[in-house]
Amino acid sequence: MISANLSAIFYLVSGVLFILALRGLSSPETSRQGNFFGILGMIIAVTVTFLSTGNFSTGFVYVLIFILVGGSIGAFIAYRIPMTAMPELVAGFHSLVGLAAVFVAISAFLNPEAFNLGYPGNIKLGSLIEMSIGAAVGAITFSGSIIAFLKLQGIMSGSPITFKGQHPLNAIILISIIVLIYLLCSTQSSNLFWILLAVSFLIGFLLIIPIGGADMPVVISMLNSYSGWAAAGIGFTLENTALIITGALVGSSGAILSYIMCKGMNRSFFNVILGGFGATDEKSNTSSKEQRPVKSGNADDAAFLMKNASSVIIVPGYGMAVAQAQHALREMVDTLKKNDIKVSYAIHPVAGRMPGHMNVLLAEANVPYDEVFELEEINNDFANADVAFVIGANDVTNPVAKTDPQSPIYGMPVLDVEKCKSVLFVKRSLSPGYAGIDNDLFYKENTLMLFADAKKMTEDITKNL
């Protein structure tokens, strides 16, 4: 058994190691070391907890068993999960953090003596407030992430679910959560604690259902942030520095990512959270759409264009992930490089279903990360490139965002694909993208549409090169 002061210092050390873990991610070279720091911090935190309780009886054996069971499930998932399913995995993991926070809060509420928080029915006021906030945020994280997971997995439709009075209802529930926490703290009633949990689960569910599939990058980042605040709430309850530091780090990390994602779509956070985007716009647009001529081509044409190019920029999007085309794409690029054609990749901040989704897929396909560029880095290069190869992206290339103030995506930063000498656009059909609007790029003089499955088309082009 070690003293409370000593263990507090060790918790501080593990908190600092977690900061270093995130710091490492500033570049791919230091990132692996960063991950190691994170693991080390976790080992220290867990070991110190064992030492400070000094309880190595039967209970300890059970704790180890549960860690082993959970750990093997986690390790199994981590090794088996395909990279394209990363958004679902992260959403699923968020839900687990949320639920774990709820369980810890329940356990502390039922047995506050174990945590030095007072006695059942007479828990210290400060602890009770922290505990109920932690539990409520944890519950929202849990049910919200479950919905996000179901939407990403395709079990639930990705289109927004809206109904009349949705926003007033949510507002009432959110206010009632605050009232419940107040009442709970003044009465210490366990019934109110359970009601608080139930209502929080409900609001988590209601908050996410109106948000459409392509807004998932924001949702996942936001839930990431929530899971951090939940952990911090529990950290205050347990008076644990490691947990407070981590909670704050994760909370601000998720908030920053949400901000970056919103900026990538030129929409306010509230606009995304209130949901319904893309559901209503579609109708008004299809009616006014006239048939415009498009040029379509086959793999042979595409191969010819690329063979005669000296530089090619590839613009991947969510469609590439769906078609699992990243490996086929890299093979095509390898062939291009053999012909001394310069190839780079342009990634829009909101491409895919989570922040950095495309980068991971390209890394999986062995694309060196120094060939992959962010929007600001590469946007000027389009004017000098010969061919832009758009695979699975749509709205993020739409020039309308720059020209038409009436458009719902006006002002969104887009890739200047249309400035390329020629544009190859791999797509299944002319259907509009998530924003529900037509892409002007389809009808440009220099655009050649390649109507096919992304993976198949890429393979065919490689054969023709």
Binding site: Y11, G15, I19, A21, L22, R23, L25, S31, R32, G34, N35, M42, A45, T49, F50, T53, G59, F60, V63, F66, I67, G70, G71, I73, G74, A75, I77, Y79, M83, V90, L96, A101, F103, V104, S107, A108, L110, N111, A114, F115, N224, A231, G235, L238, N240, I244, T246, A248, L249, G251, S252, G254, K338, I347, M354, G356, N359, V360, A363, D370
Partner: protein
């Protein structure tokens, strides 16, 4: 007059938010997905609370309603810790620089 320890914890919390703010802005956008999976893993340090809860039972009766919730939370957090760190490692191992000799 003595300062409530809560104030110290609040200071740590607020300062950590600032640290988090600057550290996360320095994360390169291409590593945002690993960032999410690693934050997932570290936020599961909540397992320390779960362990205390799990160990709260008596020697002769390890399981009571409070410790059962603790054990469940241990399992959930462990899934996240192992899953989160391992999947991050798997992803980071894929980020490679261009090889000079490769054409």
């Amino acid at each position: 007059m003595e300062i409530d320890p809560l104030i110290f914890r609040l200071s740590i919390f607020i300062l950590s938010i600032f640290v988090g703010y600057y550290v996360v802005w320095s994360v390169t956008p291409s590593l945002h997905t690993p960032l999410m999976s690693v934050t997932n893993a570290i936020s599961s340090v909540i397992i320390v609370g779960a362990i205390i809860a799990g160990l709260s039972g008596k020697v002769d009766s390890v399981f009571n309603i409070s410790s059962i919730f603790g054990f469940l939370a241990i399992a959930l957090a462990a899934i996240n810790i192992f899953g989160g760190f391992l999947v991050t490692q798997r992803m980071l191992a894929m980020y490679k620089k261009k090889k000079k000799d490769k054409k």
